[in-house]
């Protein structure tokens, strides 16, 4: 098993990587830093697991060379769990990427990062409800201070592939939407 860290540029993915592996990596606050991806090892339940920091991408329809790399890396590692890092103050944007990855059949765990920024902006997210709707683990985190990381690591094992139809149906889409 491998773990892929995915998410938009500037959501703090590299700080995640730094915290999870303790390795030396670059984290820079401008787009396009992590063009050469980083690899490291993290411990989950007494086991060493490979962690790959995938370059930031907005969607799985690549717009530039760095995004192409991200999509290729996802496809090359079919047996991975994807930790999808979202900017909690811009959940909708991040959910788009998360849904795309879920649709491809990968087990996903969602980190609602920059939780502090969202709080500053007076945005509150019901993480428990979001988890119930999506059927994948959802963990609020603040990478810069390290909050939520223990929980994140402990919940990686709960990530399982989810059928997108189930999510659509639970939101009253599909057939019932056609009726209404």
């Amino acid at each position: 098993m491998k773990i892929l860290l995915m998410g938009h540029p500037n959501v703090g993915k590299s700080v995640f990587f730094n915290r999870l592996t303790g390795a030396k990596v670059f984290e820079s606050n401008y787009p396009g830093t992590t063009v050469d991806f980083m690899k490291g090892w993290m411990r989950i339940g007494g086991e060493d697991v490979e962690l790959i920091d995938v370059p930031g991408t907005f969607s799985l329809e690549p717009k530039d060379k760095a995004e192409e790399v991200s999509v290729e890396m996802l496809e090359e590692n079919q047996d991975s769990v994807v930790v999808c890092v979202l900017d909690a103050s811009k959940v909708e944007r991040g959910l788009y990427l998360a849904l795309e990855i879920i649709e491809k059949g990968y087990p996903v765990i969602i980190a609602l990062n920059m939780w502090d920024v969202a709080e500053d902006k007076n945005i509150s997210i019901d993480a428990v409800k979001l988890e119930r709707i999506l059927g994948v683990p959802v963990v609020p985190t603040t990478a810069v201070s390290g909050e939520g990381f223990k929980e994140l690591v402990s919940r990686v094992k709960d990530a399982t592939p989810v059928k997108i139809e189930l999510i659509v149906r639970s939101m009253g889409g599909g057939e019932s939407a056609a009726v209404s």
């Binding site: 984290e27 401008y30 787009p31 060379k65 997210i125 810069v144």
Partner: protein
């Protein structure tokens, strides 16, 4: 079954309605600072202040404190005289010339060198250039750069310069690879990847490789000719914008707008900055030091075997006639293929021997900047561009060097200083 784009957004809309609530928006201090640094009226003065602060720190910390304060004294007053007294052979001996001091001819007599810029031995200049001067410049540059990166200032700078850079077919984002290249061109070339079209990447790589001097080079220039730095930067900036404008007109392809993400300001993580500084500095030491030593050795051997004199005789007329620099400049130009910092150091040596006028020093320093990227950058360009683009970059490079080098000479003649 994958969803269509609309279905996906529709689903997200429903999900967020149930899980996300937006409270009243508070205008925080962070927002206020963010706005002040992006709006032109306040943003431009802030940008000038930031760059000025950057430069002052670079000069004072690296140049004045470390290089002039400690290293020049250590190397010129202790290390060089000590080696001159203990190294076997003495002036005129080939091994001594290679390792310690080649000396130079003054009034027909071979005399010993006074400084580590002049001596040009592997153990003298070869160690002085990387450890005495460049290391401190690199540390100072990357420390400041890492702080600017982590705070999140660079995307704001990109927004500010967007309009100007659009005139040369680039996006404001281009300021990031440009700035990064001022440290070292190699990561600068890698950082062009987020530019969308091949045309933009080609323009950017070519302009970087030609007009942006690296930190090592700037460190040495600042130490040797601090009074000329303004003119050198001005000349390079004019070249960067001017040739960017021309290339944008003649290179086929599009330069679309890129929508760039401007992240919120944040407190830098010191551990992050320290680790970045360490990685970049150690990479410099690993890559640069062997090349500087090798460069010293090759140039020394070329002098000893007479190859350098031969090259000087062959290229002398071109250098003198077209660019207006003495034939001795051929030696730094050869060394510059390997390391630009070493090459600028050699010009310093020539300067101290009194071979060059101020204008010639200026011209040759600018020429060194633009005539060819260093070997490491060259290899990186090969990796990032396809063959056609690579040949295109090299062809534009040659054309730019001849046109711009000739132009500088012409201006010099008209001003009566060449």
């Amino acid at each position: 079954m994958p969803l269509s784009v609309d279905e996906r957004w529709d689903l997200i809309d429903k999900i967020s309605k149930q899980t996300v609530t937006f409270g009243a928006y508070k205008h925080t201090l962070k927002d206020a600072i963010a706005e002040l640094t992006v709006k032109p009226l306040t943003g431009i003065p802030v940008a000038i202040a930031v760059i000025y602060g950057f430069w002052s720190f670079f000069c004072d910390f690296a140049g004045t404190l470390f290089t002039d304060g400690f290293m020049v004294r250590l190397f010129d007053e202790h290390w060089l005289p000590w080696l001159q007294s203990v190294f076997p052979g003495g002036l005129g001996n080939p091994l001594y010339a290679l390792m310690v001091d080649a000396g130079h001819i003054e009034n027909g007599v071979l005399v010993a060198s006074d400084t580590c810029f002049e001596s040009f031995g592997v153990l003298t200049s070869g160690l002085f250039v990387p450890f005495g001067v460049v290391l401190w410049a690199v540390v100072a540059f990357y420390l400041m750069f890492a702080i600017l990166e982590d705070v999140g200032y660079l995307p704001r700078l990109a927004v500010l310069v967007d309009t100007v850079l659009h005139k040369i077919g680039l996006h404001g984002y281009a300021i990031v690879p440009t700035f990064l290249s001022l440290g070292c061109n190699v990561p600068g070339v890698t950082a062009v990847r987020p530019l969308e079209t091949r045309k933009q990447r080609f323009l950017m790589i070519t302009l970087l490789a030609v007009f942006i001097p690296c930190g090592a080079q700037i460190g040495i220039m600042q130490d040797l000719v601090p009074e000329l730095m303004g003119w050198i930067f001005l000349t390079l900036a004019i070249g960067y914008l001017g040739f960017g404008f021309i290339l944008n007109k003649i290179v086929p392809g599009k330069s679309p707008e890129i929508i760039m993400d401007v992240p919120p300001y944040q407190m830098p993580m010191w551990r992050n900055i320290a680790s970045k500084l360490w990685i970049r500095t150690s990479r410099f030491l690993l890559v640069a030091v062997p090349f500087v030593l090798l460069g010293c050795l090759i140039v020394g051997l070329m002098y000893l075997t007479g190859a350098m004199d031969w090259l000087a005789a062959v290229f002398g007329p071109l250098l003198m006639g077209w660019f207006g620099v003495p034939e001795e400049t051929v030696a730094p130009l050869i060394a510059g293929f390997l390391r630009k910092d070493l090459a600028v150091g050699m010009i310093g040596g020539l300067m101290e021997q009194g071979i060059m006028t101020t204008f010639q020093v200026f011209t040759s320093v600018v020429l060194l900047c633009i005539y060819f990227p260093c070997l490491a950058t060259f290899v990186m360009m090969l990796k990032e561009e396809n063959w056609k683009e690579f040949l295109g970059s090299i062809a534009s490079l040659v054309a730019m060097v001849f046109v711009y080098g000739g132009l500088i000479h012409l201006v010099g003649i008209m001003l009566g200083v060449a």
